[in-house]
């Protein structure tokens, strides 16, 4: 059965994907590509190692919310 929220969640996921691709590519990362140190760490290293867990949190958050919606439909999506 078609999930009534399927399309909007799908769009949200794609939006996140596009945002993610932009945020880890040129020219966006060029902002952080310098030789400054923050807390003794290079800016770019800090950017990735803070941004990465942040994006994982976003997935976690969305997947949980999505999960609440899909709990009912999982009964009939489960089998096939």
């Amino acid at each position: 059965m078609k999930d009534p929220h399927g399309n909007s969640t799908k769009e949200a996921w794609i939006l996140c994907l596009i945002l993610g691709i932009i945020m880890i590519n040129f020219p966006f990362i060029h902002i952080f590509s310098n030789e400054d140190l923050i807390f003794g760490l290079p800016t770019l290293v800090l950017y990735f190692f803070v941004g990465w867990p942040a994006s994982i949190l976003v997935i976690w958050f969305f997947a949980r919310r999505n999960g609440a919606e899909d709990e009912n439909s999982s009964v009939d999506t489960g089998r096939e």
Binding site: K10, W13, L17, G20, N25, I29, E35, G40, P53, W60
Partner: protein
Amino acid sequence: MISAKTVLLISLAYFALLFLVAYCAGKRRETKRSLLSNSYVYSFSLAIYCTSWTFYGSVGRAATNGLEFLPIYLGPTLIAFTWWFFLRKMVRISKQQNIVTIADFISSRYDRSALLGAIVTLFSIFGIMPYIALQLKAIAHSIDLLSTPLTAPELGFYALSNKLPPYIDTAFIVALVLALFGVLFGARHLDSSERHEGLVVAVAFESLVKLVAFIAVGIFVTYGLFDGFADIFQRFFEQFPERRELFRLGTEQTPYTKWFTLIILSMMAIMFLPRQFHIMITENADENHIKKAMWRFPAYMFLINLFVIPIALGGMILNGGDTSQADFFVLTLPLSAGHPWLALLVFIGGLSASAGMVMVSSVTISTMILNHLVMPCILRLKLNRQDFSGVLVNLKRFGIVGVVFLGYFYFRLIGDSYALVNMGLISFMAATQFAPSVIGGLYWKRANRKAATVGLSLGFLLWFYTLLIPSFVRSGWISADILQNGLFNIALLKPLELFGLKDFDIYTHSLFWSLLFNLAAYLSLSFFTQQTESEAQQANEFVDVFGEQVQPTQLKRISKAPTIMEFVELMSKFIGEKPAHAAITDFLSDHEVDARGSLPDHEIPQLKIFTERTLAGHVGAAPARIILENYLSTRGSEMENVFDIFGTVTISHAASREQLSVLYDASQIVSSGVKLQETLDNILELLAQQFKFDLCVIRFLEESNMTLVVKSQNGMTSDHFGQSERNLNMETYIGQAFLSNATTVVNDTDFLDKPASAQIIQREGITCFAHTPIVVDGESVGILSAFSRSVKGIFTSEFIALFENLAGQVGIAWRNDKQLYELLHAREQERELQIAKDIQMSLLPSEIPQLQQIAFAGLCVPAHHIGGDYYDFIPRDADSFDLVIADVSGHNLGSALIMAETRTFIHALLDSIETPAEMLHALNRFFYNNMSCSDLFVTMFYLQYHVNTRTLSYTSAGHNNPLLWRCRQKNLVLLDAEGLIFGIRQDVDFEQKATKLEPGDTLLLYTDGIIEAEDSSGEFFGIERLGKLIEECDHMPPQELIDRIMDQVRIFTGLRHFNDDITLVVMKVIE
């Protein structure tokens, strides 16, 4: 240092532990809930992505190229955003179609093409070789490092292996062991659709081990050897200020293009590497696990990469900046710091990383080889064996060993010339080539088999040329000449500067060209070539997997269908008897079986599909199809179309769900049995709403003036389109559609070839429209039209088919309505006529006047229900009466009405008019004044008889002359009096004659029905026969005479019924 023996023992013990884990998992499955239903197992098993490349290679990459190791993990994190719809869709499809490998997936999507399966398999074999080589290299090297102290080489592993023949090195032994475990884990049974419970649990366990090992060494380096992250960075920058570049991007080392390329490659690799496909899709036990894995797997990658930079920097600091052995810093740092047990843990972690990948990859690729290279050959050779299943499982085992050793040979050939990461990227690039065919196949119905075949082949070719050839050159296996001068000395064909594209790194260059050719061929061929019917059906099943599946199960049947047992035998041949019986029991449990143990006809195609899919789970989709087709064709069975019972309302398989639902709604409307007008209105409303037309019109032909008249319309009110009538000619589109009995479509009104229509259409702002004839029994009866103001090109061929179907439904509604109307009408008329008949009969004399000396009889037989004949006896006084007989031409309602009128007139004037002549004169005037416009005419004979004087006075208005039988003289006299038919002239003189009757005389009055009764040769009964009858029967009473006459007329004509009204009146003077 650790002795080689210890390393070997520990390794073997670890493998034994893995096997124990796998075994327990298998046991547990039989007794309790399967471990695979645990979402952590699924999430951890996905980490098979992190191989020894991650485990050792990331650090090496970080040391030499800085942040360049990151994209390999950032890409999968990003693509995880799409898993809930993208990965889940692939899982759903694979479960439905029993797909087990990526080759199966692509081949299934494109019409179960055996060729595509073979291409993908070959591609995967070539693509996986460097990757397996990489793992073997890593394990072999780590063993050597761990057990061979540079100071005392004779104690190490080399010392052990030196006793063996020279071609057997560490990597060879590793390959052998891994192949053995691959066979043990992955090919104990043939059934590849059944999950490899043990293998997956073992992989998940390995993932846990490698994570723990890596974090352990990370913490040891960061906080044991150094004082935290900041400390390492600080010391590194102090020692190597010139290497600050490592932590920037857009440098010469790592340009942004390369960064981008690596992200794309890793995004595709995580989805399409054969082993990832196997673990993520084939081994998925529950779609909801994906939701958990979406964040757990990226989190895993984050954790395992957290200490990569500190270890790399630490290694460089401690090694004085030397990066030549950076790939193995993870191992050498604890070793040189005097922690061999930690190094051993790291080694086990690395072993886990490699072993998991090699085992799963070899099992997967072996399945692909078996299903897509070996099976088609076996089937083509038509080897006829009772049971293939034993042979197949051995072939699969052989395949696993073969795949591992292919990797080994690649390692021997290329291995030492490349760093770990570079070898891995060659495989990633190969997996990326599957992306267009898979993604397009999931979301684009038009994508077809030819396009995928050509696209993949081109991608493969370019990949081989731009990536694999340079790696061969680097290893010295082929001459460097091709790199410098290009193929055949053509500069444009240099593998690293193809078509003159310079200044990019090798991966960006290769990605660009291979994907460009792949995509271009895929897109353009999909656009310009057509799908076959079965291809389109398969495309629908893939793209619409989450939609409601419209199964055209009723449309096909199998002639000379095999029985259930025959299907079971067929399956047993390939998968063994037990699994075949288990499968069929499963199938039959939710299907009805009749008393004789066979399936109803329409279930057989489903059993065929089931058999095919079951086989597909073991031998792959394409071979399964070939098996079934061969089997059915040797039996002489065929899939045949079942004719659509709806006749005109046929539906193509290509019709979308939306369109089918419109047709369904329309048929509901038609069969709902409401009035025609309501039906038409409802259909138009449906059409207008569903497809957003601005105007929809139904016109029907008005036969009286041959124009098309609007019966219903929906949408904008426009004088011209919605309301006016249309003449039938070829000048207008609607006329053309009607006259040529074919749909007329204009998808863009900027291009019109009928000037008469063009002006109006453009004035109304119509952008496209279509007229389709409403056809009933092969003839147009009307036109269904749709107009749109907003969109051009609505009328695709598919849509036109739908549109024509709707017109067909309107036709059915129209015909139903017409038939109903005609039936009702006929009934109504019948009832009316019955009433009229009753009325008319009551107008005739119901009883014969009883007079002395005179006997009467009268009979009136209308040809149909009602007639125009009339007779009457009208007593005037005790001894006189009038007798009238009249014949109104025709025998319809009009005649009957005039007859009634005549009777009323006579009865009304009886008192005021004395003589017959006067009566006829008055009647003539009346008819002349009132009936001149009708085409009916009336004849009449009117007589008056005085009983006492026995005088008969008579007049005639053009009526047949009555016969008078003179009994005494025995002769027959015609009573003739001059007079014109009524209503011709205003004043007519009616001659009145008189004669005296004698007792025994018989007078016969009649209408022309009697003398004009025809026999089969067309001869009239005639006045002579009538006269003779009277002569013969002069003794008979009047009623008997009439009966006799009627009998004789019936005998003469040979018919029971007469074509004309018949009236007879007999008057006899009694003696």
